[in-house]
């Protein structure tokens, strides 16, 4: 069973088409990155998943069920536009969020206390939200998202506006929630975070999926994965065209582009037999490069399956 499934989903606002026939599949238990430039339709897609706006066409399933009513109580959502009721006390606000997600009031209250302590905010529980700094409010929002131990957590740009320390704290929580068994979907355009955190990604542009799959696979598929080799000896395998498509030899250092379908593992095995390997590195293209390459070249490129 998948955490989230979208089949041929369309949504337009007046003349603008925000989402155009999007298919999306988020397996359970992974950290999934929803990527795309500004205006690609990320937020619209997430809002449709949360049943905040209705799609014009298409089917959306969450945890195997149509995305309405009780199944959405098992989802936690942190919108990009983060606002809290400024006049409410922190602990009461969290209690309200918990109850609105189906927790008993007492349970919501005690969990809110635990989470506040975890973020070092226990002394602020009885303060009004408006008395907190922006950073603290962000953390309170975050607590509100995970308080009810959701099976799926959707975070829209979770790192925007966070200082490095808070970013690390949030990252820790994301990893902790993954260990608990939750599926985490986050949208972002910060590629660095995606490379480090995500298991799978889907890149959308102009409302369509243009690239998807496990991060390693995406990288493999895109951009030549060059191999750097520092060696002593006679590397005869360089002349084997079934292994090497192109090389650039400097005598003790060579950059190799493997032939189609040849993994760096195979190259390394041959290299070890023929030369003394001092350094071996697979240089992967960064997601950042792929992102730019795909978005800019979108018109010319086939959507990979």
């Amino acid at each position: 069973m998948n955490a989230i499934e979208l089949v041929d989903v369309w949504k337009s606002f007046g003349e603008t088409t925000a989402v155009a026939g999007l298919d999306l599949l988020v397996p359970r238990g992974c950290i999934f990155g929803l990527l795309g430039p500004n205006g690609a339709g990320k937020t619209t897609t997430i809002r449709m998943v949360m049943d905040i706006i209705a799609p014009d066409h298409g089917a959306i399933r969450v945890l195997g069920q149509p995305n309405s009513g009780e199944v959405l109580d098992r989802v936690g959502y942190l919108p990009e536009e983060r606002g809290l009721y400024p006049k409410m006390k922190v602990v009461e606000l969290l209690e309200l969020f918990g109850v609105l997600k189906g927790l008993p009031r007492q349970e919501a209250r005690s969990r809110a206390g635990e989470w506040l302590s975890r973020f070092g905010l226990q002394d602020w529980a009885e303060n009004k939200v408006e008395q907190l700094s922006r950073g603290m409010q962000q953390k309170v929002m975050f607590i509100g998202t995970v308080l009810h131990q959701p099976d799926v957590i959707i975070l829209d740009e979770p790192f925007s506006g966070l200082d490095p320390i808070s970013s690390t704290e949030v990252k820790e929580v994301i990893l902790g929630e993954k260990r608990r068994g939750a599926t985490i979907v986050f949208s972002t355009h910060l590629m660095e975070q995606v490379e480090k955190l995500c298991d799978e990604i889907c890149l959308i542009n102009e409302g369509k999926a243009v690239l998807r799959g496990p991060v390693a696979e995406v990288k493999k598929r895109f951009g030549a994965r060059n191999v750097l080799l520092a060696y002593d000896g006679q590397p005869d395998f360089l002349y084997d065209t079934s292994l090497v498509a192109h090389y650039d030899d400097y005598g003790h250092y060579v950059e190799i582009r493997p032939a189609e379908g040849v993994s760096p593992q195979v190259l390394l095995q041959r290299a070890v037999r023929e030369v003394e390997v001092r350094r071996f590195e697979v240089k992967e293209p960064s997601l950042h490069d792929i992102f730019i390459q795909v978005v800019k070249g979108e018109a010319r490129r086939e959507v990979p399956a």
Partner: protein, 420 residues
């Protein structure tokens, strides 16, 4: 359902804990009670200071009769017996005392007053247009003169007292429920106050709901909340939560008014009283008040919620809420016609219009209860309108609440209605 309850609880507590709620709860009755009872209080205070009046009695016979009746709360009469020869001196002396403010007025009763002749009394005072004083004084002196005349004609003084005792006037209202004692002024005041409260609170709480929706939008909390509850639940939570605040506020006002009137009765005697005001509101009117407040609130707060959802700020809402306010101003204005002619075709028709019914049908019930089918029809029409309004507004609300920036145009709103 439990989510809606949680939202109602939040709206309710947030407002009841606020300072604004208590200021409003205290200020309004103080204002209303003040406005309606200040005249009574003033009358009581000025009545406490009895007017000093000198009666110069040339008949030499009124002294005993006039002073015997000391129960008069308005006048303190000093009788001076004199001859007509002393008149110029007395006129001079009392004129001076009036100028100095020692006495309010001096009344000269001519010597032939006790004879059955048509004679005139002469009143000297600083303020000769004090009708209250003039009438009281004339009545007292006339009664005394009549008494003397009757005794002169051979009647027994005691018998004369008994026979000339005046009669009190009580007014009775004939209604469906039977005949009830009611005072004409109080009747109008009660109806007016009730209708005015309806009118004020419908506008007040409607605006309250609208402001709540605008706050929700501007705090940007709305997207988080909408990921937890349906727009209909959010709207219901707002409307019912604030409605509950309204009912609590009414209940507090009722308690305060009863307490005030009870205390007022003790302090001021019969000048005002619980029976006079609260006691004379028939149960049917009270039930109708609650029913039409609740229905009217549901209708108008729903409309105001829609308005709140399509604007970005309160100043933007100011311009747009004019038509809504008019829906309440029109029946309030029509009240002055309907109260005098509650059963004409125009009155019946107006009171059946769902938007006017909360005020006008209630008014008709309070003044002269119409046929039951008319009440039932107006309640049914009102309920139907509320149902349609909730459906329509729910669609506007659902889209509008997430909109920021440009205010939607009317064609856009109509499109939401079709596709929402």
């Amino acid at each position: 359902m439990s989510k809606t309850l949680a939202l109602i609880r939040k709206e309710f507590l947030q407002r009841v804990r606020g300072k604004g709620f208590w200021i409003g709860t205290l200020a309004l009755p103080v204002l209303l009670v003040g406005l309606s009872f200040v005249p009574a209080l003033l009358m009581h205070v000025s009545a406490g200071k009895r007017n000093n009046v000198v009666v110069v009695d040339l008949t030499r016979r009124l002294g005993q009769v006039l002073q015997a009746d000391a129960s008069d709360s308005k006048l303190k009469i000093q009788v001076v017996t004199a001859d007509s020869a002393q008149l110029p001196v007395l006129k001079n002396r009392f004129s001076k005392r009036i100028s100095r403010g020692e006495i309010e007025a001096v009344l000269f009763v001519p010597a032939n007053a006790t004879k059955p002749e048509n004679v005139g009394l002469e009143l000297y005072a600083k303020n000769v247009s004090n009708f209250e004083l003039n009438r009281a004084l004339r009545t007292r002196v006339s009664e005394a003169v009549v008494e003397v005349r009757l005794v002169d004609s051979g009647f027994d003084p005691m018998l004369v007292r008994q026979l000339t005792r005046g009669l009190d006037l009580k007014t009775f209202k004939v209604g469906k429920a039977g005949v009830q004692q009611r005072s004409a002024g109080a009747e109008f005041m009660i109806v007016y106050l009730l209708v005015f409260s309806l009118y004020m609170t419908l506008i007040f709480y409607g605006t309250f709901v609208m402001r709540g929706v605008i706050e929700e939008k501007s705090s940007r909390a709305v997207e988080t909340i909408l990921s937890m509850v349906r727009p209909a639940q959010l709207m219901a939570g707002k409307i019912l939560g604030i409605g509950a605040v309204g009912l609590v506020q009414y209940f507090l006002w009722l308690i305060m008014i009863v307490v005030f009137l009870t205390l007022g009765q003790q302090w001021l005697g019969s000048a005002i009283g619980v029976e006079g005001f609260v006691g004379s509101i028939p149960l049917g009117t009270l039930v109708a008040f609650v029913v039409f407040f609740v229905l009217g609130y549901l209708l108008f707060s729903t409309l105001w919620a829609a308005l709140g959802s399509i604007v970005n700020s309160e100043s933007e809402a100011q311009q747009l809420q004019f038509p809504l306010v008019m829906l309440l101003v029109i029946p309030f204005m029509a009240m002055f016609y309907v109260i005098n002619a509650p059963n004409t075709t125009v009155s019946v028709a107006l009171s059946l219009v769902p938007f006017f019914a909360p005020i006008l049908m209630f008014l008709r019930i309070a003044v002269d209860p119409p046929a039951f089918w008319q009440i039932a029809l107006s309640v049914a029409l009102l309920a139907l309108t509320i149902w349609v309004a909730i459906l329509v507004v729910g669609r506007i609300f659902r889209v509008g609440i997430l909109m920021t920036g440009k205010r939607p145009t009317l064609p856009e709103i109509l499109r939401w209605l079709r596709h929402g």
